[in-house]
């Protein structure tokens, strides 16, 4: 029962480089989300997806790109990393509907942009 996994768990990169963070869930949940966690801000939504091939911006989407060709995968790409994107990134999934609202979070990816 793998649940929701993220890779890599830790990443150090340099400004201007492209970075892709991976997220995989085994529940076939329709909804998937990317949040970033920064001290004093809680978790802020970057992008979300309601189903395969359906994605939309969240609160802080600038500098990020997502895709969802398969239900189980939801990669997040930083096209040209900046120091302000140093953060902890969490992927979440949910089978929203029928009163079910729980979002299940992955273990996170700690990203440092030098």
């Amino acid at each position: 029962d793998a649940g929701i996994t993220q890779s890599p768990r830790y990443k150090i990169t340099e400004t201007g480089r492209q970075v892709t963070l991976m997220c995989h869930q085994t529940w076939s949940h329709s909804y998937m989300f990317w949040y970033r966690q920064d001290l004093g801000h809680g978790l802020r939504l970057i992008y979300y997806s309601a189903a395969a091939d359906i994605t939309d911006k969240g609160e802080v989407p600038d500098g990020y790109v997502v895709s969802r060709s398969k239900t189980e995968n939801f990669p997040l790409t930083l096209e040209s990393a900046t120091r302000s994107q140093t953060s902890v990134y969490f992927c979440a999934s949910s089978d929203l509907g029928g009163g079910r609202e729980t979002q299940y979070f992955g273990p996170g990816t700690r990203l440092l942009v030098l």
Binding site: Y31, F33, Y35, G40, H41, G42, L43, R44, L45, Y48, A50, D56, G58, F90, A92, S94, L96, E101, T102, Q103, Y104, F105, G106, P107, G108
Partner: protein, 114 residues
């Protein structure tokens, strides 16, 4: 614009005491109010949640109190234990849009002293 305001930022409680964390929201379209618990190095996990049609929900030592007219809700942890030491996030979401993402408070770091 911070739609969910959480206080206090940090809280120190003695073992056996009551921990109280408060949140206030602005968006009257919110209709789901969960609390998430996060341990260091882990992703957030759902602790307890409430909908606005009830004023209180209790699960074991954890209780949510909800005041719809004041647009406030709070988490009470009775008989606090050292194992409860974690960061707690309140959140809110609305079912009125397709977004269904959570808007988080900034978090409260709880330390329960033995």
């Amino acid at each position: 614009q911070q739609q969910v305001k959480q206080s206090p930022q940090s809280l120190i409680v003695q073992k056996g005491g009551i921990s109280i964390i408060n949140c206030a929201y602005e968006n009257t379209a919110f209709d789901y109010f969960p609390w998430y618990q996060q341990f260091p190095g882990k992703g957030p996990a759902l602790l307890i949640a409430i909908r606005p049609d009830v004023s209180e929900k209790k699960e074991g030592r954890f209780t949510i109190s909800f005041n719809k007219s004041a647009k406030q809700f709070s988490l009470h942890i009775m008989d606090s234990q050292p194992g409860d030491s974690a960061t707690y996030f309140c959140a809110a979401s609305t079912s009125r849009t397709g977004r269904r993402a959570l808007t988080f408070g900034s978090g409260t770091r709880l330390q329960v002293q033995p």
